[in-house]
Amino acid sequence: MGVFVLLPLVLPLTAWPMARLAAVHLAPRRATRLLTAVAVVLAVSSTLCLALLMVVGTAQLPGNPLPDAWSDPAVRAAVPFEDVAGRAAIPALLAVAWACAHALWCHHRLRRRATRALAGVPGRARLALLPDELPYAYALPGRPGRIVVSSGLLTRLDIRERRALIAHERAHLTGHHHRYLLAVQLAARAHPFLRPLRTTVSFTTERWADEDAARAVGDRRAVARAIGKAALAGQGRTSPAVTLPALAAPGPVPRRVAALLGPVPADRRWPPPASAAGLAAWAAAAGTAVSALSAVNAAVTLLLVLKAATAL
């Protein structure tokens, strides 16, 4: 398998240009799906390679539970730098496993607690209106999913904007956006290089819901106004949430409002090949394909070598 086993560890870098450009040059729905798929494949490939490195690395540790033949010279020869890489892969893989398990656990705990908080609240059309001055609105996935809106937010919106808000949250539920968010969250935990993809996907899911809401209420400006008012209402209140570090570019909220005040985005399947976005898309696609192939190649090679060495 040679150095191929190390490729999936660096190939997530090829998705970075795509993560920057997809939000602008692709329709939100397609951008979300594409980036999520890319992130998941890259994350699985890199984790698989870490596991392969670990198998060989662990085989050299005294007292390991693996068969002796696994540290056979033939097996060692198949993996480059097995000393360093193998040993480094063990803590890395443990860190990945812990981070992913923790993310999953947090996800389920938050959903469970939020669902329990809403227990007994009546609501037509799955809408739970909570008397709270703090302006917030959430789509809480589940069976059935619920839409949580605080009265503090609702009183600041007029009737059209309220409809836009509800349509936005409903789009989150019907589109199962939480699955994309969870997938990229896990991918980002599996490989830190995939974090920009997570940031982009959390933006494109909002844009997706914005566009769906605009279509549902037939008024792009109402959605834009609702977002703007909600964001301004939330200003000046200390939010305990982790916020993204301030970027040079405008934040997600003004970009969403600006996009809604502009025309409907073209729903093209793939950005034009000659453009920067097209190049970025091809780079990400190629990187993902190479990453997946390298991982599979390394796995098959190691399996064959082990089979030959141990006569399984």
Partner: protein
């Protein structure tokens, strides 16, 4: 919060009409809405009777005490026992609980798709400019966010 609660454990399976064991949140909501039907301050025994079978007296008192901690009910002494008065409705209780969930979870943005995220340093100016451009009258929202101008609009609004 984590006081000894016999509520969930001591509850019998109940009649078949009740399909599943009720969660803690469900139970609190039921007690609160039962109390809300009372014309005046009610005793725990009244609430227990109102709820029908299945709940022990101590369970009802435990739940009422928990609701009091959450500010959803108040109590005052009447003779040898307490009488209870609802201070919030079921939605108000849910708001309290939701607020606590939102404040305790640090990474909630990864799970709950929030309608808006926090604004960056320049975002507010940019956003006001965008909205003003779109709507010459400007957003009627005051810069300080105008806290407390929300009379409680209760459920049933759509």
């Amino acid at each position: 919060m984590a006081d000894g609660h016999p509520a969930t454990g001591g509850e019998p399976d109940g009649p078949p009409a009740r399909p599943r064991r009720r969660g803690q949140g469900q139970l609190e909501a039921q007690v609160l809405s039962a109390l809300g039907q009372s014309p005046g301050p009610a005793t725990a025994a009244w609430v227990q009777e109102r709820l029908g079978g299945g709940l022990a007296y101590t369970t009802v008192v435990t739940i009422l005490t928990r609701l009091r901690v959450k500010g959803a009910v108040t109590r005052e002494r009447a003779g040898r026992s307490f009488v209870w008065t609802p201070a919030a409705d079921v939605a108000g209780l849910a708001a309290f609980r939701m607020r606590r969930v939102l404040e305790s979870e640090t990474d909630r943005h990864a799970v709950l798709a929030s309608f808006v995220s926090a604004l960056g340093p320049d975002d507010e100016r940019l956003l006001r400019a965008l909205l003003a451009e779109e709507d010459p009258d400007g957003p009627e929202d005051t810069p300080d966010g105008g806290p407390g101008h929300g009379p409680r609009t209760e459920g049933g609004k759509d």
